[in-house]
């Protein structure tokens, strides 16, 4: 472990923090958006397209557009900076946003499919038994989609750990500040330090495997 920490002392902890916060956000957004997208409402297709976009759009391009949006002179970044003095880019929230956007469709889509499939009739049964949408969501939808949610979160966590394109643009790859584990591997390869790159890659793979096993177990409970 000391050899690993010597390679990039802060990257491991930073990645774990990013993934932990991202998973919490994905859990809430995955269920909420999955449920919302299973309903019929105007402009549903637009929300569906926006959520699905990271699946087909190049991450580096998404990162660039987000940089344009949230940068100090961006459409959203400028008023945020002017009104609140808050700057998103090159910060911890930027890393979380990058991981969240990359992982979002991987969580929402399985949950949405589960609700539209086998869970739909359970939702309808709950409605006819006098329950409203929120109670149905809590008592029926979440338990019914738990295996799909666990699978989605596994994929989302893997994506969050491995995210490079959007993170590079939004986070800035600042060593000691926004250098995640994936970016550290990238940086070590650029520096020609293949020993550290190998060690960190093995560590990243190991963490992903443990997370995968944990979430799979959670989905079976």
């Amino acid at each position: 472990m000391s050899a690993l920490l010597a390679c990039s002392p802060d990257a491991l902890l930073l990645s774990l923090r990013v993934v932990a916060v991202t998973l919490a956000l994905l859990l809430v957004a995955g269920v909420g958006l999955g449920y919302l997208l299973s309903l019929s409402f105007p402009l549903r297709w637009l929300l569906d397209a926006l959520v699905s976009l990271p699946l087909v759009f190049p991450p580096i391009a998404i990162g660039f557009f987000l940089l344009m949006l949230f940068g100090r002179h961006g459409v959203l970044g400028a008023p945020l900076h002017a009104q609140l003095g808050w700057e998103l880019v090159f910060s911890f929230p930027a890393l979380v946003l990058a991981a969240f956007i990359a992982g979002l469709p991987l969580v929402v889509k399985p949950v949405q499919s589960a609700i539209e499939g086998s869970a739909r009739v359970l939702v309808e049964a709950s409605y006819t038994l006098g329950k409203g949408r929120l109670e149905t969501l809590w008592r029926v939808v979440i338990p019914a989609v738990r295996p799909s949610l666990a699978a989605g979160l596994t994929l989302g966590a893997g994506r969050a750990f491995g995210e490079v394109g959007i993170t590079l643009m939004l986070g800035g790859n600042l060593i000691g500040s926004t250098e995640t584990l994936s970016l550290a591997i990238y940086n070590h390869v650029l520096d020609g330090d293949f020993t550290c790159a190998t060690r960190l890659s093995l560590l990243l793979g190991g963490i992903s495997l443990v997370l995968f096993l944990l979430l799979r177990r959670l989905g079976r409970l």
């Binding site: 009739v121 359970l122 309808e124 049964a125 709950s126 409605y127 006819t128 038994l129 006098g130 329950k131 409203g132 008592r139 029926v140 338990p143 019914a144």
Partner: protein, 352 residues
């Protein structure tokens, strides 16, 4: 007093539903009809799970849906129970939790759940999950869950379709008892004629999105209304009539005497399978094409002179002609009725 009245229009690609429906108070109304006729859609419209294009649904004095007035109550506000075809039991909840799901939180809630568990014969299974139950047990849970909140209207979508014959029989009896005890108005959709024969006080027939017949069960079975409805109600033999000779129907298939004179609009004769008997001195000339042993009776597929198929049921005690034998079929007048063709342009008789 009318319990439920509805005037509904609904459309989706390739399907158009338009009907008026009026159900009296307690009792079971069975809705029969071929697949795709709109039976399940009607239940979903009444429950508020689908939205009609126009019309209204009134339950007693309360409007559940009225397009013109902008009223569209959510399913949870409609005071109804719905029993789904595949049970739709919550897999993560126990039998007791499933049955109690629709009950308001009240001090007697647990006692009511226990009473329902006992009433549907599931004592000792309260803590089981649906995955640990047999098909018949799941069906009982679904029935108890739908009835526990004491809904004014119970909608049942093919409730017995996934069960074997003996289980279906016992659950039909249970349903009848529970509906009588709770004085609930129930609308039951089914493909199975026996569900209607054994359970229903009233029978409706839906074909192509239209309610073609709705009346007391006895009246509907005795007078189907037209040939298409007759087929749904278990009259397998419908023959196109080319001319009437008094009370006799004539066609290339032969001649049959009826108990009553035909009306002007009648163009078809429907024959019950149970009355006609082979080996007569006069009657329809047939050739026995197939004999199937059905246990208590034999099902005979007969070929008429114009190659139209005729199906008859012969009690086991009677002598049965062999396959390929030519014989005359006596058709008692009570076994044949004259009917209009319905909306079908041609009569779809089975042919050899």
């Amino acid at each position: 007093m009318t319990e439920l009245s509805a005037h509904l229009a609904f459309r989706r690609p390739g399907f158009d539903l338009r009907l008026r429906l009026a159900l009296p108070g307690a009792g079971i109304t069975a809705l029969l009809g071929p697949s795709g006729g709109g039976k399940s859609t009607l239940l979903r419209l009444l429950a508020g799970l689908e939205r009609p294009r126009a019309g209204h649904i009134r339950h007693r004095q309360r409007l559940w849906y009225a397009r013109a007035a902008g009223i569209d109550l959510a399913p949870r506000r409609r005071d109804l129970g719905f029993m789904f075809q595949d049970h739709a039991l919550f897999p993560h909840l126990s039998v007791a939790e499933n049955i109690g799901y629709g009950l308001a939180r009240a001090p007697d809630r647990a006692a009511r759940v226990t009473r329902w568990i006992e009433r549907v014969g599931l004592g000792g299974l309260a803590q089981r999950r649906p995955g640990q139950l047999s098909g018949g047990q799941r069906q009982r849970v679904a029935l108890a869950r739908a009835l526990a909140p004491a809904p004014a209207l119970l909608l049942l979508d093919e409730p017995f379709s996934a069960l074997d014959a003996s289980l279906r029989q016992s659950l039909r009896l249970l349903l009848q008892e529970l509906i009588a005890e709770t004085a609930t108005c129930a609308l039951l959709v089914s493909h199975d004629l026996e569900d209607a024969r054994q359970c229903a006080d009233r029978v409706g027939v839906m074909i192509g999105g239209r309610l073609r017949r709705l009346d007391e069960a006895e009246a509907v079975f005795a007078a189907p209304g037209d040939a298409e409805v007759a087929r749904v109600l278990g009259w397998p033999n419908t023959l196109a009539v080319t001319r009437w000779e008094g009370r006799a129907a004539c066609g290339p298939w032969g001649r049959v005497e009826l108990a009553r004179a035909p009306r002007r609009e009648d163009s078809v004769v429907a024959l019950l399978p149970d009355g006609p008997r082979p080996g007569a001195r006069a009657g329809l000339a047939v050739e026995i094409a197939r004999v199937i042993d059905m246990g208590p009776y034999r099902a005979l597929s007969c070929r008429l002179p114009d190659r139209t198929a005729l199906r008859i049921h012969l009690p086991r005690a009677l002598p049965c002609p062999a396959r390929g034998e030519r014989t005359l079929l006596d058709v008692p007048p009570g076994c044949a009725i004259a009917l209009p063709a319905g909306t079908a342009k041609t009569i779809q008789s089975t042919r050899y």
